[in-house]
Symmetry: C2
């Protein structure tokens, strides 16, 4: 059961010859959740062999062109491919009218229905849930409202230790109750606590996406302990003032957030196109938080369900 992130675009506002504009896709059990949709996303989906038909939910962090100008083309392509399944878009309010405008003037009626879910700009909120996953949005700090996203795998029911089933001759009718958390009482009246009877083979996996944001410690509780945190790192430390003025972060600031939030691994990305090489920038992050890697287009990060393997 996969929980795997693919980076489709890792540049900031301007694309470079090697980096496309922001877009990530999270594969959760073969459902693909698209996170931001900068220009070129549909071509990047093709290159990375992500099946269009498995994308039913698109999350847009904020309404700056480099994070959503790929959406119009993608919606159009879904239509050309005769998509029938409903599509859910989670974004801030100004995008809703834009999609309507483009459809009305340039596209006409689509073969599928779009549901627009407006993000809360003020506080953390659950915005999506299915059997395996919960998704939350939470506010970041930028020139315009921006939301971060947190994807959390749901806890699986625990397994019952087989040895105990035999030892206490537990009847099948009780198995489900024990899995749901109840204790077991033997015919002789002894209570066996649930924790003793069961074990969790898999950990809950999580991914947090912090798109454009100034350094912001109020994000820490939102992303605490996640397996994988993507945090923008537009600038090197030497351009710290510019980061502040443009409400972006340096790589070192991203690493500080990762460290304070005890995340397992950090991906830095959204690099300013001015940097020919991002080696120094990444080194600055690593000096604060060693488990840092650099985003690059096509990077795949699978999060294992087994504990302590990272």
């Amino acid at each position: 059961m996969k929980f795997e992130l693919t980076i489709l675009g890792s540049s900031s506002a301007l694309p470079t010859s090697k980096r496309n504009l922001t877009a990530h896709v999270l594969n959760v059990y073969e459902r693909y959740f698209l996170i931001d949709c900068g220009e070129g996303t549909q071509a990047q989906l093709r290159k990375n062999r992500i099946p269009f038909g498995r994308i039913n939910h698109i999350f847009i962090s904020h309404i700056h062109g480099d994070h959503f100008y790929g959406l119009f083309g993608l919606l159009s392509s879904f239509n050309l491919l005769h998509r029938e399944k409903d599509l859910h878009i989670y974004a801030h309010q100004p995008l809703k009218k834009g999609i309507k405008y483009i459809m009305k003037h340039y596209e006409g009626r689509f073969s599928y229905k779009i549901h627009f879910h407006e993000l809360n700009t003020e506080k953390k909120e659950q915005i999506y849930e299915d059997d395996n996953l919960q998704v939350f949005s939470f506010p970041l700090i930028h020139k315009i409202p921006v939301s971060g996203f947190l994807f959390v795998e749901k806890a699986k029911l625990p397994n019952i230790k087989k040895a105990y089933v035999q030892k206490y001759n537990i009847p099948i009718k009780d198995i489900h109750r024990i899995k749901s958390g109840e204790d077991f009482q033997t015919p002789g009246g002894t209570v066996i606590p649930n924790a003793e009877l069961t074990y969790r083979p898999y950990k809950q996996r999580s991914y947090a996406f912090c798109s454009d944001t100034a350094y912001n410690e109020s994000v820490i509780p939102m992303v605490e302990n996640v397996d994988l945190l993507y945090h923008e790192a537009t600038f090197k430390e030497e351009h710290k003032e510019e980061a502040k003025n443009t409400t972006h972060s340096t790589a070192k600031q991203a690493a500080k957030i990762a460290k304070k939030a005890y995340v397992k691994k950090l991906i830095v990305g959204h690099f300013s196109a001015r940097y020919k090489s991002i080696e120094d920038l990444v080194a600055e992050a690593i000096s604060v938080f060693p488990k840092t890697i650099a985003a690059e287009d096509g990077l795949v990060e699978e999060i294992s369900p087994y504990k302590d393997d990272r």
Copy 2:
């Protein structure tokens, strides 16, 4: 003095892992004329090292998303790069409002001015002229109004044969008049005809772009004798009916137009994403018009100013 075409995108409505959406750039003496602007064009410009600052004129053949959804991102990037030079866009009317909508809701005021030139959907018209180049638009046949574009280098003044300058001792004051087409009269009264005195070292070069169109013989006089014709070839011959129903062309039909118009060389492109390989499709064109090549992203075709070298 270059006259050189670069193909930035060669797919039809859907991008593939190897082909981006339609965009060409024509370098005429280091001025870059952008022709169509499908999604991903700005990234393709970067990859092909086309300087953004040299693009002052953008020609959009028609208002289908795969030919202009890259425009919003490009205009936005020009602004981020603090462009100051005016930008001229030649397109059909519905795009004008779209650009205004995007600017108003998502971009704000740009650092440069956009001049929108509405294309004539009914007849051939000169739409641009400078010292070296004339550009014309002409109607094609598609579901919505579509314009083809013809780029024609202006004739250069002829050179005077040096041997004659010496032989007749032609004074400098007469040189310019002869270059402008006049004959030369010797002091003895003999008239030397201009054609004998001069030669044209360079031929006028030309490129025609026939974007989405059904097979349409009325195009022939528009593109007659051009050095390079790009003609869409969305389908193989076996999908001729589909070409007709969708007002597109087959490769063979593109070749027929090239042949009947006596063009020097044909590029076929805008291939349907259904074809894994376009070898057969190109072979069908070559069977009718041998000097056919297939568009591919990054293809560069320089047109030489010297006669008969192709």
